[in-house]
Symmetry: C2
Subunit: 324 residues, 2 copies
């Protein structure tokens, strides 16, 4: 069994070794560009951790793990077009650096490449892990469409939001773990348990992201604190505040959110003041904790030695405790 750091090094090393080259170069350069930028590599790591948790041979999971990272980066490429995001990981997004057509097509190629990588394992695992990727991919698309709908839909409630982030973010973490578990030899019940662990961790993870966007002490690389407030993004914090604010406070919240970019500091501090009055941070942390506890319950159900689970547990705790 490897340590989390060893697995992280292996993932980074293997990605570095891959040559995403070919003709025409205009199709492949954005792929190299995207995959060489780093990022936390959370998804392939989850695949490897799950595989080793079930005492599987990590080497059989390494290419499928890379496949999941390629898939994840494909979704970012297309999301950035749809969200008109100019910057990711501190660099120009692909559609900005090249153009929309190239971002569409390089993304499509990455999706197909993800499947090619997933296939690089023992034949006996292929049908099951392929099902996981295809189902996950469809749900991630559903989540992204819900997210886009939310931009103009004024009647979003918290349960809509939680379902959206389940689809857009959480099922992929679950899927990565499930694929690792299958290759590790887990039976279908345990594969489902680790999937559900991942989905709940994913929900908690996204709530942490929402929280850090407003309350991070650390300046995030390529992101400004309060960015979600400035863009009136309907996050958990936003929806909770609108659920709880009444009377004059509600009117103030509405007015702060109406402020233009020219008054960005006033907008952020105004909204944050109301968030603080309503204890939105604590309520978000409570909801996070609830998902985290559910995740632990799912892990608990898997009848293997606690020591085998420790790496995955440490990694999950690390994701929850992060400050950026």
């Amino acid at each position: 069994m490897h340590t989390v750091e060893e697995l992280q090094d292996i993932v980074n090393q293997i990605i570095l070794e891959q040559k995403f080259e070919g003709n025409p170069p205009l199709l492949y350069e954005p792929i190299s560009y995207t995959l060489s930028q780093g990022g936390k590599r959370i998804r392939p790591l989850l695949t490897l951790l799950a595989c080793e948790m079930f005492d599987g041979n990590m080497e059989k999971a390494i290419y499928p793990a890379i496949g999941m990272e390629i898939f994840h980066n494909f979704t970012l490429l297309h999301d950035d077009i749809m969200d008109k995001a100019p910057i990711r990981r501190g660099k120009d997004t692909v559609y900005k650096k090249w153009n929309t057509n190239i971002a569409i097509l390089s993304g499509d190629t990455m999706f197909a490449l993800a499947y090619e990588y997933i296939l690089k394992t023992d034949v006996k695992f292929i049908p099951d892990i392929l099902h996981v990727l295809s189902r996950t991919a469809i749900e991630v698309c559903e989540g992204q469409q819900f997210d886009m709908n939310f931009e103009t839909d004024e009647n979003i409630c918290i349960s809509d939001y939680l379902e959206m982030i389940r689809l857009k973010t959480a099922v992929l973490l679950g899927g990565c773990l499930k694929i690792g578990a299958i290759i590790g030899g887990a039976d279908s019940k345990n594969a489902d348990n680790i999937y559900n662990f991942g989905v709940n961790i994913g929900l908690a993870f996204q709530l942490k992201d929402d929280l850090l966007d407003v309350y991070s002490a650390v300046e995030k690389f390529g992101k400004i604190t309060g960015g979600d407030i400035l863009t009136n993004k309907k996050t958990y914090l936003y929806l909770k505040a609108f659920e709880l604010a009444k009377g004059e406070r509600l009117q103030q919240l509405i007015n702060f959110y109406k402020l233009s970019d020219k008054e960005s500091e006033r907008k952020i501090s105004g909204v944050k003041t109301i968030y603080n009055e309503l204890s939105i941070d604590k309520l978000t942390i409570n909801q996070m904790q609830e998902y985290y506890d559910k995740a632990l319950d799912c892990l608990q159900k898997i009848p293997i030695d606690a020591a085998q689970k420790q790496n995955l547990l440490d990694f999950a705790q690390q994701l929850m405790g992060r400050e950026s």
Copy 2:
């Protein structure tokens, strides 16, 4: 063994039975819209024909066949965004009817759905047919990128063009046949032979398309004759004409191609006159015939009874003989 017409009916029937429904509706409506529009259903038909040619059980190939049709329609959805095509099969394209973001995301969902359909067959076939789809998908993307590059690249020669259409169009026909052959029980040598048959038929098919765009007697549904000339598209006919035209004739050809949309009739008839003087139609037909003969050679190499091959042969002849 079924007749071509019976297989066509089966394909249309099964596609009609599929419910491409789900939430959010904005993601799924464009998928139903696209797949209910008909089209020739050439690709799923090839899968079924290949399966039966090798005496396979057609029912095991039907969902993978539909998967290939879904994949093909996904590429059309994204191509229409990139090519800014407002009309397909006489109807608004998805990005026109909805918007670009929805066309990107519905397309992505169709790509994932294609994989889900491909998986609906015996487990033993899955690894091999999955490899075929992923490789084909990557090559189709390469072909589309070459096609986009050609719009602005002035130094395209005929061999560049043939490589582009091999990737963009022909490998998919080969891939559909290969998947059918694998499910039909063909060994890898025969699966490759039928793949090469399909690639050569695909090349001939695209040249026929180029030819019909200029010389079709029949008004194509949703397309005008001469459309490629009007848009200065670098087809086989265009490149052959520029290869052969010299001196004053070359200057005339350049001048005709410079005419604006306001003089569309003069442009089309001017270019056609030069095409006729240079026998471009006959030269295109000769090149088509060359690929068709190569295709027949590949089919010839497959050591099974000629009667078993007849349906596929009839269908290929039908594709070559079509007038629209």
